[in-house]
C-alpha cells in the first residue's frame, strides 16, 4: 500500500505537466482565434487546381 505515496506524487507531477501545457497554449494565443484554423486545415496543397482543370477538360 505504501507505494501509493509515490504513485500519487507521480500522478500529480504528470497532471501538472498538462496544466503547464494549458497555460502555454493560452499564452501562445491559441484561444484568440477559434475559427480560422478550422478552415485553414481544410485547404489542400497546391496541385488541386491542376487536378480540377484536368477533370473539367474530360
Amino acid at each position: 500500500m505504501s507505494v501509493l505515496f509515490i504513485l500519487i506524487i507521480v500522478s500529480l507531477i504528470v497532471a501538472s505537466g498538462f496544466l503547464i501545457a494549458f497555460i502555454w497554449s493560452v499564452k501562445s494565443g491559441q484561444y484568440e482565434d477559434g475559427y480560422t484554423p478550422s478552415v485553414r486545415m481544410l485547404f489542400d496543397n497546391e496541385n488541386i487546381v491542376e487536378d480540377k482543370e484536368i477533370k473539367t477538360e474530360r
Binding site: 500500500m1 501509493l4 505515496f5 500519487i8 500529480l12 497532471a15 501538472s16 498538462f18 496544466l19 494549458f22 497555460i23 493560452v26 499564452k27 484561444y31 484568440e32 482565434d33 477559434g34 475559427y35 480560422t36 478552415v39 485553414r40 481544410l42 485547404f43 497546391e46 488541386i48 487546381v49 480540377k52
Partner: protein, 795 residues
C-alpha cells in the same frame, strides 16, 4: 440560374456591363482584372473553394493611399519593424469566406517580398510580415486593394498603445482552479466513502497535506479577484457580494487548515476548490465578447488618417490630419470625409452630412461657405481652407463633454449588490448569534458553528445565478443580432421608462427613400428621356429619381448641362428637358414646404414634381405601438420638421418631437430627461447621436452592417432585426425576474444549510454535497428558464 449572367468573380448580376474573358463572365473591368491577376499567379483555387467569392475592387485607388508614404504614419501603423522585416495588422472588412482566407494567406505568391500572412477570420484582420526594403507599405496596401481587399485605416488605429493585450488572467485562474479542484476531489474520495481503513492510517494525514498544498494556488491566485474586491469594498465602507464570499472562503480555508494540522478532521478544502472553480466559470460565462464589434468607437474611427494638402506652389502631398493647421489648403476627393472645419475655396461641394447632423439629403455649398468636419463629399474634388484644428472642430468638441470623461461602470448599482447588503448583515448576525449561544456551553462547538455558518452561507449559488442568467441572455440576444456590451446593460435596459429615437438612419432607412410623382402623368417615351438625362448626373437626388422611374431603355442625349445646386438642362431630339429645384424651374418659390422635391419641365411647360420622402423601417408603426404601452416615447432629430405630420401618425400626438437639434442639444435633452427622474434609452445611429448615446442610461446604436462604424454605445442592434426591439427590451425585463426567482432558490438552500450549521452538525461531506448541489440547481434553473422565456418571446 442561367437566365441572368452572374459575374464569375463577385457573383453580382451583370446587368450594366458584361465582359467575357477566358470563357468566364465578369460584371466589370475591376472583377476581370482581379481574375487576371489571380490567374497569372496560379491562384485560381480561390474560385474553387467557394463560388463567386470575390469582391469588386473600388475604382478610385490611385492616390488614395498616398499617405502611407509618410514615415510617421508608417511607424504608428506597424506592429514591429527591424532592418529586414515589418509586421502589420490590417483590418479588412471584406473578409467573408474561406476563399478569402486561402487567398490572403497565399499572398506571398503574388509578391515574393511578402514573407507570410495570416488571417484572423472573426476579427477580419490580416497579419502580414513583409520585407520593407523591397516592398513599401503603400505598395502592399495597393496590392491588397487591387484584388478587392481594401484595408480600413483610420485615426483610431494610431492610438499610442494600440496593442491591447487581451487579459488572459481569468482563464489562467480557471485553469489552475480546475486543476486543483479535480485533484483535491480525487484525493478526498476515500473520505466520501467513509473508508475507515484509510481514515485510521497515515494516508489520512498524507492526503490532508496534499490537499493543503493544492489549495494554496486556489486561495492565493484563483480567488484573488474576490479577495481584492472585498478588501476594496471594506476600505470604501460599502458592502458588495464579494464580502460574504470572501468570509466564506477564508472560513473554509482556515478551518480546514486547522482541522488537518490538528488531526481533528479532513477539512472542507474540496468544497473550497469547487466553490471557486464554479464561480470562475460563471465569470467567464458572463464575459461574452464579440470579436468584430467595438463599443468604444469615437469620431477617430470614422475620420481618415491623412488628407491631401495643397502647398503654396500647387504641390499635392499627403499629411496627417492632426498636423493640419489653420489656413492650410486641403483637397477632398469624391467620397472622402472632410476631417476638419473648413471653408470652401473652389469646386462644387455636395456634402452628405447624414452621419454628422442627421440631415437626410446632401447639401450643396457655395464657395466661401463653411463646411463642418465629418461631412462626406459626393462628386468631384474640392479645395478647402482649414479654419479649425482637428480637436476643436464642431463635431469633435462633443467629446469634451463630461459625459465622455466620467467612468461608465460606477453609475450603476446592480441587483446583486443591493441584495448582498442585506444578506451580509443577516449572515454576520446569525454567525455571531450562534457563536454567542454556544460560547457558554462549549467554546469548541461555538467556533465550529461560527465558521460553519460563514461556510454554508457563502452565497456561491447567489453569486452564480446572475452571471449565468446574464451570460445566457447575452448569448440569446447576440444570436438574434442584438449585441450588448456587457451584462450590466441588461439590468439597465430592464429599468428604462423613456425611449428617445433619432430620426435619420434610425427609424428611417438611409439607403432607401420613397419617391412619388405629382403632376401630369408621364408617357413611356418621356420616362425614357428623363431617365436618360438623369443617368448623366451624379447628384444623389438624380439617382433616386432615376431608380424610381425605372426606364428599360436609354436614348442618346444631344446636349447636357448640370447647374450645381440648381438642376439639369438637356436636349434630346430638340426636346428640352429641365429638372431641378423649384426656383430653377419656376423662377419663383410657390410654397415654403421643406419637403425635398425635384421639379420637371419639358419644352418650357411645367409638368409636376417628384417628392422624396424618407422611407421608414419596416414594422415601425407596430413597434412604436407596442413600446408606447410600456414607455414614454420621444423623437429628437438634427433634420428639419418636414416629416412631422408623418411622424405624428406613427408616434401619436403625446410624443415630444424636437427638430434641428445639434449633437450637443441631443446630449442636453437626455440630461434634462434624466434630471426629471427618467431612465432613458437612446436609439441612434450616427456620430451626431454619440453624445446622447453616451449620456443616456442605455444607448443603442442601429447599424445596417455591424462591421462598419457605429458610435460608442452600450448595445448594437442590427438593422434587420429592428422590428424585434420591443421583444428584446421586454426579455431583458423578465430576465430580472428569473434572477429573483433563482435568489429564492439559493436562499432556501442557505436556510437548510444554516440549520445544520447553527446546531453544529455540519460535516465536510454534507458541505461538499450541499454547496455544489445548490450551485448546480441554480445554474440549471436560470439556463432553462431563460431559454424557455426566449422561446416564448420567439427570440
Amino acid at each position: 440560374m442561367q437566365n441572368h449572367e452572374i459575374c464569375y468573380h463577385c457573383g453580382e448580376n451583370c446587368e450594366d456591363e458584361l465582359i467575357k474573358f477566358d470563357t468566364k463572365k465578369f460584371c466589370c473591368l475591376g472583377c476581370k482584372t482581379v481574375y487576371e491577376i489571380l490567374n497569372q499567379n496560379n491562384l485560381c483555387n480561390y474560385y474553387e473553394l467557394e463560388s463567386t467569392p470575390g469582391i469588386s475592387p473600388p475604382k478610385d485607388t490611385n492616390k488614395k493611399f498616398e499617405y502611407l508614404e509618410n514615415t510617421k504614419v508608417i511607424d504608428k501603423l506597424l506592429d514591429y519593424q527591424d532592418d529586414q522585416t515589418s509586421i502589420i495588422n490590417l483590418y479588412l472588412p471584406q473578409i467573408h469566406c474561406s476563399s478569402c482566407i486561402w487567398l490572403l494567406e497565399n499572398l506571398y505568391k503574388l509578391n515574393i517580398h511578402i514573407k507570410s500572412s495570416r488571417v484572423n477570420f472573426l476579427k477580419k484582420e490580416l497579419k502580414i510580415s513583409f520585407n520593407h526594403n523591397n516592398l513599401s507599405l503603400r505598395k502592399l496596401v495597393e496590392l491588397l486593394a487591387s484584388i478587392g481587399y481594401n484595408p480600413t485605416i483610420n485615426l483610431d488605429q494610431l492610438k499610442a498603445n494600440k496593442k491591447k493585450l487581451i487579459d488572459h488572467s481569468l482563464i489562467y485562474k480557471l485553469g489552475i482552479a480546475g486543476f486543483c479542484f479535480g485533484n483535491i476531489m480525487l484525493i478526498s474520495l476515500p473520505e466520501y466513502f467513509g473508508l475507515d481503513a484509510i481514515k485510521e492510517s497515515a494516508f489520512s494525514q498524507f492526503f490532508g497535506y496534499i490537499n493543503m498544498v493544492l489549495s494554496l494556488p486556489i486561495i492565493l491566485y484563483s480567488s484573488s479577484g474576490y479577495l481584492k474586491s472585498a478588501y476594496q469594498a471594506v476600505i470604501h465602507k460599502t458592502i458588495n457580494i464579494d464580502i460574504p464570499i470572501t468570509l466564506g472562503i477564508l472560513a473554509l480555508f482556515f478551518r480546514s487548515i486547522y482541522e488537518i494540522l490538528s488531526h481533528t478532521g479532513s477539512g472542507y478544502l474540496d468544497s473550497l476548490a469547487a466553490l471557486i472553480f464554479f464561480m470562475l466559470i460563471g465569470r467567464i460565462f458572463q464575459q461574452k465578447t464579440y470579436d468584430i464589434l467595438s463599443f468604444e468607437r469615437d469620431y477617430k474611427s470614422y475620420f481618415p488618417i491623412a488628407t491631401t494638402i495643397v502647398t503654396a506652389d500647387k504641390i499635392e502631398k499627403s499629411i496627417y490630419v492632426s498636423e493640419l493647421t489653420i489656413g492650410d489648403m486641403i483637397l477632398i476627393r469624391n467620397n472622402e470625409i472632410i476631417p476638419v472645419d473648413a471653408i470652401l475655396i473652389s469646386g462644387e461641394a455636395n456634402i452628405d452630412n447624414s452621419f454628422v447632423t442627421g440631415e437626410a439629403n446632401p447639401i450643396f455649398k457655395k464657395n466661401g461657405d463653411k463646411i463642418y468636419a465629418g461631412g462626406k463629399q459626393l462628386g468631384q474634388a474640392i479645395q478647402l481652407q482649414v479654419i479649425k484644428k482637428l480637436s476643436y472642430s464642431y463635431l469633435t468638441q462633443l467629446w469634451n463633454d463630461e459625459a465622455f470623461t466620467k467612468a461608465d461602470e460606477d453609475k450603476f448599482d446592480g441587483i446583486m449588490n443591493k441584495i448582498s447588503k442585506y444578506f451580509t448583515i443577516i449572515i454576520l448576525f446569525i454567525a455571531i448569534g450562534s457563536l454567542a449561544y454556544w460560547w457558554k456551553i462549549d467554546a469548541k462547538i461555538a467556533i465550529n458553528s461560527f465558521t460553519a455558518v460563514l461556510i454554508i452561507a457563502c452565497p456561491c449559488a447567489l453569486a452564480l445565478s446572475a452571471p449565468f442568467t446574464f451570460g445566457n441572455v447575452l448569448r440569446i440576444l447576440g444570436k438574434n443580432k442584438f449585441y450588448l456590451k456587457n451584462a450590466s446593460v441588461i439590468e439597465r435596459l430592464a429599468k428604462i421608462n423613456t425611449i428617445v429615437f433619432d430620426k435619420t438612419g434610425t427609424i428611417t432607412q438611409s439607403s432607401k427613400n420613397n419617391v412619388t410623382y405629382y403632376g401630369t402623368p408621364l408617357t413611356e417615351e418621356q420616362k425614357i428621356q428623363i431617365a436618360s438625362v438623369l443617368r448623366q448626373s451624379s447628384h444623389p437626388l438624380s439617382k433616386l429619381v432615376f431608380n424610381y422611374i425605372d426606364a428599360k431603355k436609354n436614348v442618346e442625349i444631344d446636349s447636357f448641362k448640370e447647374l450645381l445646386g440648381q438642376g439639369l438642362v438637356a436636349t434630346i431630339n430638340d426636346i428640352k428637358i429641365q429638372l431641378g429645384s423649384e426656383k430653377f424651374i419656376k423662377n419663383y418659390i410657390e410654397n415654403l414646404s421643406t419637403a425635398t422635391r425635384v421639379h420637371l419641365k419639358i419644352n418650357e411647360s411645367y409638368l409636376g414634381y417628384f417628392q422624396i420622402e424618407n422611407s421608414y423601417r419596416t414594422g415601425l408603426s407596430s413597434i412604436i405601438a407596442e413600446l408606447k404601452s410600456f414607455f414614454k416615447i420621444n423623437l429628437i432629430s438634427g433634420d428639419n420638421n418636414s416629416e412631422l405630420e408623418n411622424l405624428k401618425s406613427y408616434f401619436g400626438v403625446d410624443a415630444e418631437f424636437l427638430f434641428n437639434k445639434t449633437p450637443e442639444d441631443k446630449l442636453a435633452y437626455i440630461k434634462s430627461l434624466q434630471q426629471k427622474g427618467n431612465v432613458t434609452l437612446m436609439i441612434g445611429d450616427g456620430l451626431n447621436d454619440a453624445g446622447a448615446l453616451k449620456q443616456s442610461d442605455v444607448g443603442i446604436s442601429i447599424s445596417e452592417d455591424v462591421n462598419t462604424f457605429s458610435p460608442a454605445c452600450d448595445a448594437i442592434l442590427d438593422a434587420s432585426v429592428f422590428d424585434k426591439l420591443p421583444q428584446f427590451i421586454l426579455y431583458c425585463k423578465s430576465s430580472i425576474n428569473i434572477i429573483i426567482a433563482s435568489f429564492i432558490i439559493s436562499f432556501s438552500y442557505n436556510i437548510i444549510g444554516l440549520y445544520f450549521a447553527v446546531t453544529g452538525l455540519l460535516s465536510p461531506v454534507f458541505a461538499a454535497i450541499l454547496m455544489p448541489l445548490s450551485s448546480i440547481t441554480v445554474v440549471v434553473f436560470v439556463t432553462l428558464t431563460s431559454n424557455l422565456l426566449a422561446q416564448h418571446k420567439k427570440l
